[in-house]
C-alpha cells in the first residue's frame, strides 16, 4: 500500500516539474511551485524524516510564494512622475491628453502597468538632480514642460531599453522631445 503511494507521488512530481518548465505565464507557475512543495513534503514523511518535512512545509507554504508574487508584480510597473500639471496627461472620457494616449498605447503594447503620480514632495525636488531621484525611488520617466519653447520634455535613463522604443514612438509628434541622461554605476 505504501509502495503504490510512493510511486504515484513520484510520478506526480515529475509531471509538475515538466509543467513548470513548459509554461510561459509567470502567474500560473507560482501555484505550481506551492503544490510542488506540498508533494515533496509528503515524500519526506514516507522516507521516515519528520523534521525535514516540518521545515519544508513551514518555509515553502507562505514565505516563498509571497516573495515571488511581490517580485513578479514589481516587474510590470512603469512609474511616471508628472511635473507639468496641466492637460497633457488628462484622463477625461471624451478628451484625452496627447501624452496620456501615447503612454497608454506604449504600455499596452509591452504589457506594462502605468503608474502615474504627482506627489508634491517629489515634484519639489531639485530639477538639476533628476538623476539622483531616478536612482533613489525607481522612477522611470519624468515629464516636464519647458518654459521657453513650449514643448514637453520626457526624461529617462539612458541604459533602459524601453527609452529607445519610446523615442521611436515619440518622433512622430512635434512638440514632444525625449532626453536621456546617463546614470552612474549599478548599485551606488
Amino acid at each position: 500500500m505504501i509502495e503504490i503511494t510512493a510511486y504515484a507521488l513520484q510520478v506526480l512530481l515529475i509531471i509538475i516539474a515538466i509543467a513548470i518548465v513548459v509554461h510561459k505565464n509567470n502567474g500560473t507557475i507560482i501555484i505550481l511551485i506551492t503544490s510542488f512543495s506540498l508533494v515533496t513534503a509528503s515524500l519526506y514523511v514516507i522516507n521516515n524524516a519528520p523534521d525535514v518535512a516540518i521545515a519544508e512545509v513551514a518555509i515553502g507554504s507562505a514565505i516563498i510564494p509571497l516573495i515571488y508574487v511581490i517580485s513578479i508584480s514589481r516587474q510590470r510597473e512603469f512609474i511616471v512622475l508628472d511635473r507639468a500639471r496641466d492637460d497633457f496627461l488628462k484622463r477625461a472620457f471624451d478628451k484625452e491628453g496627447i501624452g496620456y494616449r501615447l503612454l497608454r498605447d506604449f504600455s499596452e503594447y509591452y504589457k506594462l502597468e502605468l503608474n502615474i503620480t504627482d506627489d508634491p514632495e517629489l515634484c519639489s525636488y531639485d530639477p538639476n538632480k533628476d538623476q539622483v531621484l531616478c536612482e533613489k525611488t525607481n522612477v522611470d520617466l519624468i515629464i516636464q514642460k519647458d518654459e521657453r519653447t513650449g514643448e514637453y520634455l520626457l526624461k529617462g535613463k539612458d541604459s533602459s531599453i524601453l527609452m529607445h522604443k519610446l523615442e521611436e514612438l515619440a518622433s512622430e509628434y512635434e512638440d514632444i522631445r525625449v532626453v536621456r541622461f546617463k546614470d552612474g554605476d549599478f548599485g551606488d
Binding site: A55, A58, A62, I67, R74, N115, D119, E121, K136
Partner: protein, 233 residues
C-alpha cells in the same frame, strides 16, 4: 532555426548520458553501505547528549560548528538584501496611484483569530525540540509566518529594519558566547557545559540554544519581508 533544434538535441543527449551513468552506479550501492555511525548514534546518542530526538542531539551537540555557520550565512544574506534595496527617502511613504487599496473585512476578522494561535504553536514547536520532531529552525519559520499576517492587514505599517538587524546581531553573538563556555568545564569547545548526571540540568542547555536559534531565524525572515514590501517606496 535549425541551429536551435541541434542545440536542444545535444543538450538532451548529454542529460541522457548522465542518466545512464547514474543507473549503472546505483547497481553496486549495497557494497558501500556502512552502519558504523548509525549504530554509534543508537547506542550512545541518548546517554551522552540527553536528547531524545537524535537529530536535535546531532545539530546541537555533536555538530554545533555547522549550526553556527548556518546562522552566520543567514545574517550575511539578510544584510545583503537590506543594502541592495535602498529606502533612502526616510520615513515618508510616497503614495503611488495603484497602491491605494483596502483589505476586505472578512479577511481582517479571520486574521485576528488565527494570529495568536500561530504564535503559540510556533513557540510550542521551538520549546519541544528535544523530545518530539521540531526544533529551532522549524519553529522560527512558523513564528515569522505569524508576523507576516500583520502585514497583510495593514500594508502601511512602519517598522525600521535596521533596528531588527541590530537585535539579530546581538543574538548571534550570544549563541557563540554560550557555545564557547564549555571550554572552561569540559576542556573542549562547542558542547554541553554541564557535567552533572541529571537529565533536567542537562536539558537547560538544549532548551536555551533552541530558543536563541528560533528567535534569530524569525527576526531574519521578518527583515526579508520588510525589505521586499517597502522596496523603493
Amino acid at each position: 532555426m535549425v541551429i536551435l533544434v541541434i542545440k536542444n538535441g545535444l543538450l538532451i543527449a548529454l542529460l541522457l548520458v548522465l542518466l545512464g551513468a547514474f543507473y549503472f552506479s546505483v547497481q553496486d550501492l549495497e557494497l558501500m553501505y556502512n552502519t558504523f555511525a548509525k549504530n554509534y548514534y543508537l547506542e550512545n546518542g541518548f546517554y551522552q547528549t540527553y536528547a531524545r530526538n537524535l537529530v536535535t542531539g546531532i545539530y546541537l551537540d555533536y555538530r554545533l560548528f555547522d549550526s553556527i555557520f548556518e546562522a552566520g550565512i543567514l545574517l550575511i544574506a539578510v544584510s545583503g538584501i537590506l543594502w541592495i534595496s535602498k529606502q533612502d527617502i526616510e520615513k515618508h511613504n510616497v503614495h503611488f496611484m495603484l497602491d491605494k487599496f483596502k483589505t476586505p473585512d472578512l479577511f481582517v476578522m479571520f486574521a485576528r483569530i488565527v494570529y495568536p494561535l500561530m504564535l503559540v504553536f510556533g513557540f510550542y514547536v521551538i520549546v519541544n525540540g528535544h523530545i518530539s520532531p521540531g526544533g529551532g529552525f522549524q519553529g522560527g519559520a512558523i513564528v515569522a509566518t505569524a508576523i507576516l499576517i500583520l502585514y497583510y492587514i495593514d500594508p502601511n505599517k512602519e517598522t525600521d529594519p535596521t533596528f531588527i538587524v541590530s537585535i539579530e546581531k546581538i543574538v548571534f553573538l550570544l549563541i557563540i558566547g554560550f557555545a564557547t563556555i564549555s571550554i572552561v568545564t569540559k576542556g573542549t569547545m562547542f558542547t554541553n557545559p554541564f557535567t552533572v548526571d541529571n537529565i533536567e540540568v542537562q536539558s537547560i542547555y538544549l532548551l536555551l540554544m533552541n530558543i536563541l536559534i528560533g528567535v534569530k531565524v524569525a527576526l531574519g525572515l521578518w527583515t526579508i519581508f520588510t525589505a521586499f514590501l517597502k522596496e523603493g517606496r
